[in-house]
């Protein structure tokens, strides 16, 4: 096992950032630390890197107790949200930095940097300064710089958080492919559930300084361990007092068994999707909140749904939530 974290606690003054964290990250995997901001996921990543030290507990990286090792000695690659590019150095010098510190022979450094430039598609920008690169290019440079030292683990702190949506999507796919090629144990922090579900092999949901659940993207989505995980991984709504996904609700124009009746109070079309708000009649649980229902445009059109229509709702694939 590549990273073993046991009994880690961390406080900043009165604020409890992490509470009794136990986590094992498998070698060669791509793991996401997912959670809302302020939940402790970045602190956990920084503790793995050695940029923060835990108040108690231990961090073992590839069999070596790293708890007391300074960041310089841990051989981890760290990628920052805002790139942390060395502004006064060209792309080549940035990437070569770790190797030059390690006093590798110039020929070896040259070869390695050339390879990495190709890997991150920055060969033609080799002699530019970071200020002359786009955000996406800067982050690829930062990634190459971190990979140059052949780290035992690669740690990325919200690596695509500062980029616009399109570039973020591209880099996400590219990171996945890069990881499959290089096979270096990778942990990345994100607050974007879609990013975690799409890229990671396994996801660690961190909230309020604790781990809520660890599992594969499918596990988390299909068998969420708590309402929090269920809610964090996608939109939710309440039907018959049960938490369900708005797109897991079936809509009928006529009464069917186990259905609840209501009126459409809001009808919104967003691209291919139609979002309804349905106010239930004689709501048994006396919920004031209307139920959200997401349909595809085709479904909505075939039912000919309009604002103010009367409909019957059934939750069709009730997701079992373990700990209520």
């Amino acid at each position: 096992m590549s990273i073993e974290i046991s009994g880690v606690n961390k406080t900043f003054g009165d604020f409890v950032a992490l509470q009794d964290i136990n986590l094992t990250v498998p070698t060669g995997g791509l793991t996401a630390l997912l959670g809302p901001s302020g939940g402790g996921k970045t602190t956990l990543l920084r503790i793995i890197a050695g940029l923060e030290s835990p108040d108690s507990g231990s961090v073992v990286i590839e069999g070596t107790d790293a708890t007391k090792l300074p960041v310089q000695k841990r051989n981890v690659g760290f990628v920052f949200q805002h790139y942390a590019a060395f502004k006064h150095m060209t792309v080549v010098r940035n990437i070569a930095f770790g190797l030059e510190i390690r006093k590798r022979p110039p020929a070896e450094i040259n070869q390695k940097v050339t390879e990495l430039l190709e890997l991150v598609h920055l060969t033609q920008f080799a002699h530019r300064l970071p200020a002359q690169l786009s955000g996406g290019q800067r982050q690829r440079m930062a990634l190459a710089r971190a990979l140059a030292i052949e780290p035992s683990v690669l740690l990325l702190d919200e690596p695509f958080g500062a980029l616009d949506a399109k570039v973020r999507k591209e880099l996400r796919d590219w990171l996945r492919r890069l990881h499959d090629e290089m096979n270096v144990t990778t942990v990345f922090v994100t607050h974007d559930q879609e990013e975690a579900l799409e890229v990671a092999d396994s996801i660690v949901v961190v909230n309020e300084g604790r781990i809520e659940q660890i599992g594969s993207p499918d596990d988390l989505y299909d068998k969420p361990a708590s309402d929090f995980v269920f809610g964090f991984l996608g939109p939710t709504t309440r039907l018959n007092g049960q938490l369900v996904r708005p797109h897991d609700i079936e809509v009928y124009r006529d009464p069917v068994p186990n259905a609840v009746a209501g009126w459409i109070t809001k009808w919104t079309r967003i691209g291919y999707e139609v979002r309804l708000e349905v106010q239930l009649e004689g709501d048994p649980t006396n919920d004031i909140e209307p139920v959200s229902v997401f349909l595809t445009r085709t479904e909505a059109a075939s039912l000919d749904l309009r604002d103010g229509d009367r409909v019957w709702l059934v939750a069709h694939a009730a997701v079992p939530v373990a700990a209520r």
Binding site: A49, G50, L51, P70, V71, Q72, R74, N75, V76, G77, F78, F80, H82, A84, A85, F86, K87, H88, F97, G98, I101, R102, A142, R145, A146, A148, I149
Partner: protein, 273 residues
């Protein structure tokens, strides 16, 4: 290129006239008079200054004190700036306030305070130091101390905001790539604060060259030994040798003007990068 005609409000015009008149009467005209008085008889006044061994030694002493004080304040200033920005400790705000003291306290008070500590006869540490062969007051070390005191915050005030602005991530990235503290400072931090340090050095040098009050108290004003250029200006002026006083003033003023020009050029250049 077409120029748009912009109507300027009368208030704006009045403000401009006022600002220009104020600067002219307070700064430009008096300084210009020093220059014109210096060159009234061609180069004879300047030749007179450089021909007088006492004045040469005064200029040399000023230069020595200014350079040494600047070196000390640069090393100290950069270290203190790192301490203030990169670490947390008790009494940080007190230290921060204390660092502004040299700019707000009258230099003459600084001089007296130094005499109280380092004075050879009655000072707190002076007699002990003199027993061990180091005379501070009425000697070059005292002049350097006084000069360093008055110009102490200049490097710090330039470097601190830049250190804040560049943040800590580049340094942490360097450390994660294996750089130790010294390598991180030398390869990452120093290049990033380079221009701020240069401004600080230039300002410190300009301030140090012109110091008068504190130096007057601690130097003893001994001709050819502890008389600095600013003290010599006063002496020449009081002893009816205004030509030499103007020429020395011109030299001291030139250093300041040159410093301002250097800073202006450097600022423009670093703004471009």
């Amino acid at each position: 290129m077409t120029r748009k005609s912009v109507t300027v409000a009368p208030v704006t015009i009045a403000l401009r006239v006022f600002a220009i008149a104020y600067l002219f009467l307070l700064v430009a005209w008096p300084v210009a008079l020093v220059v014109s008085n210096t060159f009234e008889n061609g180069l004879t006044a300047l030749e007179g200054v450089f021909g007088d061994p006492d004045l040469r030694s005064a200029l040399r002493l000023t230069l020595t004190a200014a350079v040494v004080a600047t070196v000390i304040n640069t090393l100290f200033g950069v270290s203190i700036s790192l301490l203030l920005v990169r670490t947390e400790f008790r009494g940080k705000r007190l230290l921060n306030a204390l660092l502004d003291l040299p700019l707000s306290v009258s230099p003459i008070v600084v001089g007296l305070a130094l005499v109280l500590v380092y004075g050879g006869r009655n000072g707190w540490a002076g007699p002990w130091l003199e027993d061990h062969g180091l005379q501070v007051i009425f000697a070059t070390p005292g002049i350097i101390l006084a000069t360093a005191f008055v110009s102490l915050p200049l490097v710090i005030r330039e470097v601190v905001p830049v250190l804040r602005e560049i943040g800590i991530e580049q340094e942490q990235a360097a450390q994660s790539l294996g750089a130790n503290g010294w390598q991180t400072f030398w390869l990452i931090t120093l290049p990033a604060i380079k221009w701020a340090v240069v401004y600080g050095v230039v300002l410190t040098l300009a301030r140090s060259v012109g110091e008068f009050g504190a130096v007057k108290v601690v130097s003893g004003n001994i001709l050819g030994e502890t008389r600095t250029a600013t003290l010599a200006v006063e002496e020449k002026y009081l002893n009816f040798d205004p030509e030499a006083a103007y020429a020395l003033s011109f030299l001291l003023g030139s250093v300041s003007v040159l410093s301002i020009v250097i800073v202006a050029v450097l600022r423009a250049r670093s703004a471009r990068h």
